[in-house]
C-alpha cells in the first residue's frame, strides 16, 4: 500500500502511520464526509444561506418573519457543527458507520457515534426552526400584489423544501433518540435478540428491529435528497430566466411539478431498501412510486431546457454554471431509474454506481447551482461583480475535472465494484477490471480542488476590488434587483415595494427595455 501523496505527511501517526491511512480512519472520513456535505454543507448553504438572503428580498419582505428564531436556528447549527467536528478528537475518533448509521453496527460503534447522534439532533432542530420560519415568511410577508402565481420559482421551491424539512426531519430526530437510547441506556430498539459481536454475545434484552432504523432513516433521507436539489433548481431557474432574456417556459408546470414532487417524496423511501428482503409487495409499491416521482423531475428539467430554445443567451459565469447543471442533473436523474427498479438495483445496490448517481445530482448538479447562485447574487450582497475571467477558468476547470472524477464510477459500479472498500478494491478479484480508474479519478480530484482556488481568490478579491455594479446588476425583473439597493440595508427596502407583474417579464414587445421589473406599475402599453 502506498502512502497518500502530499497530504499523507500531515496526517497524525495514530490515523495514518507513514502516510498510509488506517481502515478505521478511512471509515471515519467516509461517514463524516457524507454527514458534513449533506447536513452541514448543502442544506445550510442552499436553504440557510441563499434562502435566508434571497427569499425575503424576492418577496419584498423587510426580514424573515421571526428574526430571533432565525438566530436560534443559526446557533443550533453552529453548536451541532462544533459537536460533529469535535468528535474527530474523541478516543476512537468520529462516527465511522457511514452517513446512514445503519444498525446494529452503529449501536456497537465507538463513542464518536454518540456525538454524531447529538450533533444530528442539534442540526435537525436548526433545520426545523429554519423551515418553519421560511413557510411563515412566504405566506405572511409577501409584498402587496405578489400573488402566489407571481412568485419567482426560487421562492416556490424554497417553500416546498421548507415543508419537506419540517415534516421529514422529525422522524429522523425520533430515530436518533431511539439510537441514542440504544447506545446510552442499553435499550434494544434496533438490536435483535442474541446478537453476537466479535465472538461475544451482547447482553442486551433484544427483541428490536434493525430494519426499523432503515425505515426511519430513509423516511427522512429520501425527502432530504429533494431538499438538496430543489433549492438548486430554483437558483438555476432564476439565473436562466435572467440570461435567456425571455420568460421561462412552463412556469405553472414547474410549480405544480414541484408541489407534486414534494408530496411524492414521502412515499418512495424504501427504494433504498430493496435488498433487505422486505418482500415483493413492498418492492412493487416502492418501484411504482419511484417511477412516478421521476416524472415531475423530468417536467422541471424539460421546461428549463425548452426555455433555452430561440433565446439570445448571455454566457456570463453564473449562466455557464446554470447551463452545466442541466445535463449533469439529467445524468444524475436518469441513472437513478435503474436503481429504482428492484431487478437492476439488486446488481447495482451498494456499488460505485450509486455513488456516481447521487454525486452527479449533488456535485455537478447542486454544487454547480450553488456556484451559479454565488456569482449571480454576489453583486447584490456586495455591490461588486466577481471577476469574469477567473470565474470562467473556475467553471471550465471544475466542469472537466468533476466529470473525470464521477463518470468512471458508473463503469466501476456496473463492473460490480462495491462502495466503501478501504483499499479501493485492489484485494478483490471482481474489482480488478475497474480498479484502474481510481488513479485518474484521484488525480482529477486533486485538480478539481486546485481549480477551487480560483474561486476562493476571486471571491475575496472581488469583495474589495471587484468592478462596481449598479443595484440592478443584471437587468433583472425580480424585486431583489429591481427594488433594493446593493447591499440591501437593514430592513431590505427603502420603501415597501408593490408588485404589478409576473416574475419574468423579459423582452415584452412594445416595452422600451428588454426587462420589465415586477414593481413597475402597469401602463397603457400593457393593455
Amino acid at each position: 500500500m502506498q502512502p497518500i501523496p502530499i497530504i499523507g505527511a500531515y496526517l497524525s501517526a495514530a490515523n495514518a502511520p507513514g502516510g498510509v491511512m488506517l481502515p478505521e480512519f478511512y471509515n471515519q472520513l467516509g461517514a463524516m464526509h457524507g454527514t458534513i456535505m449533506v447536513f452541514m454543507g448543502v442544506v445550510p448553504l442552499a436553504v440557510g444561506g441563499f434562502g435566508n438572503f434571497v427569499m425575503p428580498l424576492q418577496i419584498g419582505a423587510p426580514d424573515m418573519a421571526f428574526p430571533r428564531i432565525n438566530m436560534a436556528s443559526y446557533w443550533a447549527y453552529f453548536v451541532g457543527g462544533v459537536v460533529m467536528l469535535a468528535s474527530f478528537f474523541l478516543p476512537g475518533g468520529a462516527a465511522n458507520s457511514g452517513w446512514t448509521s445503519y444498525v446494529p453496527l452503529a449501536v456497537t460503534a465507538t463513542v464518536g457515534q454518540t456525538w454524531w447522534l447529538l450533533g444530528m439532533v442539534l442540526l435537525i432542530t436548526s433545520s426545523l426552526l429554519g423551515s418553519l420560519n421560511f413557510i411563515v415568511t412566504i405566506f405572511q410577508l409577501r409584498a402587496p400584489g405578489l400573488t402566489f402565481m407571481r412568485l419567482p420559482i426560487f421562492v416556490w421551491l424554497q417553500l416546498v423544501t421548507a415543508y419537506l424539512l419540517l415534516l421529514a426531519f422529525p422522524p429522523l430526530e425520533a430515530a436518533a433518540v431511539l439510537q441514542l437510547m440504544d447506545r446510552v441506556a442499553g435499550t434494544s430498539f434496533f438490536l435483535p435478540s442474541g446478537l453476537v459481536v466479535s465472538g461475544q454475545i451482547l447482553g442486551n434484552s433484544g427483541g428490536g428491529n434493525p430494519l426499523l432504523w432503515q425505515h426511519l432513516f430513509w423516511f427522512l433521507a429520501h425527502p432530504e435528497v429533494y431538499v438538496l436539489i430543489l433549492p438548486a433548481m430554483g437558483i438555476v431557474a432564476e439565473v436562466l430566466a435572467n440570461n435567456i432574456r425571455k420568460p421561462l417556459w412552463g412556469y405553472k408546470p414547474v410549480v405544480y411539478s414541484a408541489i407534486f414532487l414534494g408530496f411524492m417524496s414521502f412515499v418512495v423511501w424504501a427504494h433504498h431498501m430493496f435488498l433487505t428482503g422486505m418482500g415483493t409487495t413492498m418492492s412493487a409499491f416502492f418501484q411504482t412510486t419511484t417511477m412516478i416521482i421521476s416524472i415531475p423531475s423530468v417536467v422541471i428539467l424539460t421546461s428549463l431546457f425548452l426555455s433555452l430554445w430561440g433565446a439570445s443567451i448571455r454566457f456570463t459565469t453564473p449562466m455557464l454554471f446554470a447551463l452545466a447543471f442541466l445535463p449533469m442533473f439529467g445524468i444524475g436523474g436518469l441513472t437513478g431509474l435503474p436503481l429504482g427498479l428492484a431487478p437492476t438495483d439488486i446488481h447495482l445496490h451498494d456499488t460505485y454506481y450509486v455513488i456516481g448517481h447521487f454525486h452527479y445530482v449533488v456535485a455537478p448538479g447542486t454544487l454547480f447551482a450553488l456556484f451559479a447562485g454565488i456569482y449571480y447574487w454576489f453583486p447584490k450582497a456586495t455591490g461588486r461583480y466577481m471577476n469574469e475571467l477567473l470565474g470562467k477558468i473556475h467553471f471550465w476547470g471544475s466542469f472537466v475535472c468533476i466529470n473525470i472524477v464521477f463518470f468512471p464510477m458508473f463503469i466501476q459500479g456496473l463492473a460490480g465494484m462495491n462502495r466503501r472498500l478501504y483499499d479501493g478494491g485492489i484485494q478483490y478479484a471482481h474489482a480488478q477490471t475497474a480498479a484502474k480508474w481510481n488513479m485518474p479519478m484521484g488525480h482529477a480530484a486533486f485538480a478539481l480542488w486546485a481549480f477551487q482556488l480560483f474561486f476562493i481568490f476571486n471571491f475575496f478579491w472581488s469583495i474589495k476590488k471587484g468592478r462596481r455594479s449598479p443595484s440592478n446588476a443584471w437587468d433583472a425583473t425580480t424585486l431583489e434587483w429591481a427594488a433594493a439597493p446593493s447591499p440591501p440595508p437593514h430592513g431590505n427596502f427603502p420603501e415597501p415595494p408593490v408588485v404589478y407583474r409576473e416574475a419574468y417579464e423579459y423582452s415584452v414587445p412594445g416595452h422600451p427595455r428588454d426587462f420589465t421589473p415586477q414593481n413597475e406599475p402597469e401602463t397603457k402599453r400593457d393593455k
Partner: protein, 196 residues
C-alpha cells in the same frame, strides 16, 4: 420597515405570524410522535411476547395524571379568555394554576418512575419498558418546556401586558395551543401504553 402581521392577522391568510408558526411547529411535532408511535407498532407487531401495560404500570396514577393534564388545559384556556376580557390578574392566576398543575403531573410521574426503578425495571429491561420510558420521557420534556414558557409569561414576560396587551394575549394563545397538543399526546399515550 417593520415586520408586518406580528399582532394583527393578514387578511388573505387570516393568521398572524406567530399563530401560523405554532401550527407548523405542531405539525412537525405530530411527525415526531407519529414516528415514535409507528416504531411502537412495528416493535410490538414483531415481538414474540409483549406485556400488557396494566401488568407493569400503575393505572390509577396515570389516570390521576390524565385528570391533572386535562384540568391544566382548562385553566390555560381560561387564562386566554380572561385576557380577551381584559382581566389581567385573573389570567395571571390561571397561568400560575396551569404551571402548578403541570408540576403536579411531573411529581406523579416522578413517583411512577422511582417505583419502577426501585423494582429494577429500567429501559434496558425489555422493549416495552424501553418504549415506555422513551415516550413518556420525551413527553415529560415537552411538559417542562411548556412550564418554562408559562413561568416566563406570568413572571418577567408579564410586563408586556402594559405596553402591548394584544401581543401578550397572542403569546398566551400560542402557548395554549402548544399546551393542548402536549395534553393530546398524553391522551394518546395513556391508553396505548397503560391499557392496550
Amino acid at each position: 420597515m417593520d415586520i408586518p402581521y406580528t399582532v394583527t392577522a393578514r387578511p388573505d391568510t387570516g393568521l398572524y405570524n406567530g399563530k401560523l408558526g405554532i401550527w407548523l411547529f405542531l405539525a412537525s411535532e405530530v411527525m415526531l410522535f407519529g414516528a415514535l408511535f409507528s416504531s411502537y407498532l412495528l416493535l410490538r407487531v414483531g415481538a414474540e411476547v409483549w406485556p400488557r401495560g396494566e401488568t407493569i404500570l400503575n393505572i390509577p396514577m396515570a389516570f390521576l395524571n390524565t385528570v391533572i393534564l386535562i384540568s391544566s388545559s382548562v385553566t390555560m384556556v381560561l387564562a386566554w379568555a380572561s385576557l380577551k376580557m381584559n382581566q389581567f390578574q385573573k389570567a395571571r392566576w390561571c397561568l400560575i394554576g396551569t404551571f402548578l398543575l403541570a408540576s403536579g403531573f411531573l411529581v406523579v410521574k416522578f413517583f411512577e418512575y422511582s417505583e419502577k426503578f426501585a423494582h429494577g425495571l429500567a429501559p434496558k429491561t425489555n422493549t416495552f419498558l424501553a418504549i415506555y420510558f422513551t415516550l413518556t420521557g420525551l413527553h415529560g420534556l415537552h411538559v417542562v418546556g411548556g412550564m418554562v414558557v408559562m413561568a416566563f409569561l406570568f413572571g418577567p414576560g408579564a410586563k408586556m401586558w402594559r405596553v402591548a396587551p394584544e401581543r401578550y394575549t397572542n403569546r398566551v394563545e400560542i402557548t395554549g395551543l402548544y399546551w393542548h397538543f402536549v395534553d393530546l399526546v398524553w391522551i394518546f399515550l395513556f391508553p396505548v401504553l397503560y391499557l392496550l
